[in-house]
Amino acid sequence: MTAAIQVNAVEKSFGNVQIIRDLNLSVAKGERHAIIGPNGAGKSTTFNLISGHIKPTSGEIRLNGEVTSGLRPFEINRRGLSRSFQVTNVFARMTVWENVRCAVLWATGHRYAFWKNVDSLPEVKQRTAQILDDIHLSHRRDVPAGLLTYAEQRELEIGITIAGGASVIMLDEPTAGMSHAETERAVALIRRLTEGRTLVIVEHDMSVVFGLADRISVLVYGHIIASGTPEEIRGNPKVKEAYLGEEVD
């Protein structure tokens, strides 16, 4: 079976600083894959490469077997990959409802339509309401996204990401800055909403990572030093040395 995401020997330099070196990653369809690693390791850069935000200096990226390196983000999104951002990235002046609805429009086939009334598209309405319900923001539907609390914005960020129904979901530190209770709620949400889809998640909370992920990749200095099941990662001496230290024992 072809992998959902296949990264082959990707390198990325900014100027003459090489940030990503010989990156190889394979995420199977339906798998929950966590990427961990110290700050500045290149996790967000990896997300940017896979989602088309930036182009690799060399190497190749495939989505469901099709080469996507070199494509624009919206072309990759249309092929079934959707990502969230580490720093909240929503439509600040638009309401919560409108934020989610915008993310539903392309996927429901309405594209650039200027001859349809957006308020009278039943499947758009229904799907938007469903997503709002899923992310527990129905009661905030008419509030401009810029006025939400931090935790609510993070949930909206997830809502926008999953709204299009992409088969591959990438979440960049979705629980960063959340309290313990908020994190638990968000993880339950992520688990439920990505059921049956492929998930790639960057996460710092090790209990979340080991509880959620089927497989884990450890990124250090732009290179994946280990990839495997939680047990394999836990027992890997290289990982212990480079990143996890004593904390997992």
Partner: protein, 430 residues
């Protein structure tokens, strides 16, 4: 908050009253457009109404770019002017070849002209938003305005190209010679264009325009190419600007290079911004006010542009949401029933603020008319520009007015804060 209706109920209620309000507003607008010339029937008001109507379409078209899509254009008059020129050429051709084209469809020709130009240059222009787009729009504006003086066969040089609107096929006995018939032609297009532009904001494209305005980067990750969105918005803006240009050509029976120039582009930016870009009706208010001021001020003062500058700076600094923004700020207070607590402070503040404004006007006119010019007439009181008493009066009004006004402004702010807090506590955010 506790006894607030459940969200779904509130939403349903909002939707049904929204639909009713929606048709109500347009019916009211249509009725107003029909009745206006019957109430104010002088030739002067008919001319003013015609110009205001055209300005409304033009400003609304500009707001497709500025308010809806976040594109600041310094050359929107290009599409307007080219629409006007195409309209004139088609009118002349129709007259000389006896084409069966009635005058009321000519604005559509203007729209096609504006859109065709947008189609041609838009793809390159809208590749980037922000400063890049603003600069290119300025460049294109200058380019077209200056070529219009060189390409004499198309643009008629300095004098422009004239036409005769009565030479086209009459429609239901209307020749469109009298201004009243032209007014109704314009009113019809104002209504149709405004409804169409409002409807556009309610389409998938219209919503994504807002998303591109707020965050073009994120738009790329929900399947949309912001470049295509901007390009489409630019074409629609060009289309409606062209309709406005076509109407202007009909109204004045001429198209000249001034239609295309920076003055005209500045005028529409002014109207739109002063009216307020965040609400659909903002540019309508702006177009009415600015056109009315322009018509009124040009006859009483030679430095009317200076007043525009002062108003514009005032709006940018103190009310960046424009008139619509100021009005809509009151909505939560009205809903919460606390508006009554701020009105007295407004009334108190109005007096010294008016004195301050009069002082500014007196100062400007004194400077403008110091070396010759008519005597100043302010609220029926004559002032001589060279008299020290005039200077003293101006100084007293400016300084005294400002000092007192500042105190009353603070009171307005305090009263406002209290009322807004109460409104927030009662659950009214907007």
């Amino acid at each position: 908050m506790t006894n607030a209706p459940t969200p779904s109920l509130a939403a349903a209620k909002q939707e049904s009253s929204g639909a009713l309000g929606f048709y109500g507003v347009w019916l009211l607008a249509a009725a107003a457009l029909v009745v206006l010339p019957l109430v104010f029937s002088s030739g002067g008001s008919l001319t003013s109404f015609s110009l205001i109507g055209i300005a409304i379409i033009f400003a609304l078209s500009y707001n497709i770019l500025l308010g809806q899509t976040g594109l600041l254009s310094f050359g929107h008059a290009v599409q307007y002017g080219l629409g006007g020129f195409l309209a004139v050429h088609v009118m002349n051709a129709a007259a000389s070849h006896n084409w069966p084209i009635p005058l009321p469809v000519i604005p559509l020709v203007g729209g096609i002209g504006g859109m065709a130009f947008a189609l041609l240059v838009g793809w390159v222009m809208t590749k980037r938003a922000g400063t890049v787009f603003a600069m290119i729009s300025l460049g294109i504006g200058e380019l077209v305005a200056s070529s219009s003086l060189i390409l004499r066969s198309v643009f008629g040089g300095e004098s422009g190209i004239t036409t005769d609107r009565t030479s086209l096929m009459p429609l239901f006995g209307w020749t469109f010679g009298p201004q009243i018939q032209v007014y109704y032609l314009i009113a019809f297009w104002v209504l149709v264009s405004a409804i169409a532009m409002y409807a556009l904001t309610r389409t998938p494209l219209g919503r994504i325009c807002n998303a591109v305005r707020d965050n073009p980067e994120r738009v790329e990750f929900i399947g949309y190419d912001p470049h295509v969105v901007r390009y489409l918005a630019y074409m629609f803006a060009g289309f409606f600007a062209g309709i406005a240009g076509g109407l202007t050509a009909i109204n004045f029976e001429i198209a000249n290079s001034a239609y295309l120039g920076a003055m005209q582009s500045g005028f529409v930016l002014f109207s739109t911004f002063i009216g307020g870009t965040a609400y659909f009706f903002g540019p309508i208010l702006g177009a009415i006010l600015v056109t009315y001021l322009q018509l009124g001020l040009t006859s009483v003062t030679s430095v009317w542009q200076l007043y525009f500058g002062v108003i514009f700076i005032g709006i940018v600094m103190f009310a960046p949401g424009g008139i619509a923004g100021i009005l809509m700020k009151h909505r939560p207070l009205i809903r919460a029933g606390t508006l009554g607590t701020v009105i007295p402070s407004y009334l108190v503040a109005a007096i010294p603020t008016l004195a301050f404004a009069l002082g500014i006007i007196l100062t400007i006119e004194t400077v403008a008319r110091f070396s010759g010019g008519d005597p100043i007439n302010l609220l029926g009181i004559p002032f001589v520009a060279t008299a020290p008493t005039t200077w003293a009066a101006a100084a007293v009004l400016v300084v005294g007015g400002f000092l007192v006004a500042r105190i009353t402004w603070r009171r307005v702010a305090d009263a406002w804060d209290r009322a807004a807090t109460v409104a927030r506590d009662r659950g009214y955010l907007a």
